[in-house]
Symmetry: D2
Subunit: 184 residues, 4 copies
């Protein structure tokens, strides 16, 4: 019997009740069903002062960084603010070691209010993820806010337009994590 | 007699004693000498929790946002972390209104340990600044850490290589603020 | 009496009858009315082989490069192809000297079929223009194809939504060229 | 017995005798040794006029596009000009269909004269490649010109610093093509 794969799901929305967080929970449920062990890092719930000062000695910060370190795959989910990923999620990525994604597969997910932000995925977020030297960053997805409804369980229900896209993207990520895992 | 121009200088280094902060102080001194009124926003000194949660009702956060609002020119100084500006500085920019830079002239300044980060200026930081719809973002500068020595007054001394470059860039910013000011 | 300002308008559409070219002609007419001398470089009409091989000895290539050199302001108009400016326009920019935009004001204009390409302006085109070290790149504009109708004079008619935006952007460019010109 | 994998190697240098072309030949030799069938598309040797006008009816242009279509993996090798990939290589990518890289693995390789161009890989080239919707774009490499010597066979000899990096990157690409190929 083999160990299940570990997935770190980093959520970078500044607001408590957000479509990004709901989307993350939805993706987490899908991955759980497929036998992955998912751990969510809600950046907004980390202790604020140590996070901003990149204090990796802080226990909770260290624990969150360890979630990433132990992961086979990393998902970074963020709203688009000011043409890029949120400062919140970037602040967390900033305190990780230089090659924190080495050997890992990474999936970028962005949410936003207008199609005009689509390219923030490949121009704004992906180069940041690449700088952490992952094995590879698979194709990601930009989801319009209007495609996402927050359910009463704080998960996400997707429109018929969005659901198959997300499914296909998650499948690509899952395949890449498994295929990469053969080298473990 | 005319009012002096207001400059907001946003500093986005996570560490207390940083080359970025020293550079900011140095630039501030130069601008003071030329009759500008400079106010520095040290993002790391803002209250952490309200900053992370984009709580613009918080008094100190509101005061920092007002410094930007009242400015004729804005300087954004940040170290390069993970191929982009710091999450810290981005977190502050995120909580500003959509068109917070309207009518203003903006100068981007980055510091970094290796020449390999130079393009973070035009690819990583500038598109974020553009999204705030400034009048214009003038030519900025990437400064190598090794060009900057922190003086005992916590200002910066620059090497002979760097000093004239910074001078020229600051002059371009000053000219643009003044020329733009004629439309006040 | 002072010399009129020279504007170089570089058009980078691969097709003969394009919205980008019509837009360029429209902008050219507006600038002519305001006393500017506009010269258009249709990159697709340059001799193909010398262009591709960056042969700056070729007479027509040299003449096109001279149009840029003599300009006070440069407009780069391109459709968005594959999330960036056209290879055609980039091929022309590639053969210009390293600091070809020094002392000049630059205006980027992009056209595209979907809002999803908006950020190609600030992430795809602007960093390329910055690398030519202009005095500044003013705020540019992305125009949806559907906002542009090609008139029978091969100029462009714009929708009520687009016309005032273009006007405002062109005015910003004009002001910047004039203000910069005081330093001539 | 299975079919060997097809690799399309697109070379985008404007000059006949270039380090980029030599590097491409070197990579091609390595891939041949490992049983891959490599076909090189030298963009500068394609018929210039049809290339610039995106004339996909032209026989040679159509043949070059077919090389990409039939490939399991695509390598895009370009010098850095003006902070991005060459206009030449972009002109070729522009005439490919919207999803030309679908199901394929892609490797970006850039060469340049200074470390200051490193980020052109992830900010300038990679978003363009992503727009062609590949299965994934693996980690690529920026190589300094000084690391590459052109041999008398027009291949490349690499310094001790560069050789292992290229080897590791090519291995990542090879693994990804093979792993992806299981889904053929």
């Amino acid at each position: 019997m083999t160990e299940p794969f570990n997935i770190a799901l980093i959520v970078g929305s500044a607001s408590a009740r957000s479509r990004t967080a709901a989307l993350a929970r939805h993706v987490s449920e899908r991955l759980n069903q497929q036998g992955f062990r998912v751990r969510i890092v809600q950046v907004r719930d980390l202790p604020a002062q140590p996070l901003l000062h990149a204090d990796t000695q802080n226990e909770e910060i260290a624990a969150a960084a360890a979630v990433v370190e132990q992961a086979d795959g990393v998902i970074v989910a963020s709203p688009v603010y000011k043409a890029a990923c949120s400062g919140l999620v970037k602040t967390f990525l900033d305190l990780l070691p230089q090659r924190a994604f080495q050997g890992k597969v990474v999936l970028p997910l962005l949410t936003g209010g207008t199609l005009a932000h689509v390219l923030a995925l490949d121009y704004g977020l992906r180069p940041v993820l690449q700088s952490l030297e992952p094995r590879h960053v698979v194709s990601g997805l930009f989801l319009l806010d209007q495609w996402i409804t927050i359910t009463k369980e704080q998960s996400a229900a997707l429109t018929d337009e969005a659901a198959p896209r997300l499914e296909s993207i998650v499948r690509g990520f899952v395949d890449a994590v498994r295929s990469n895992g053969e080298y473990r």
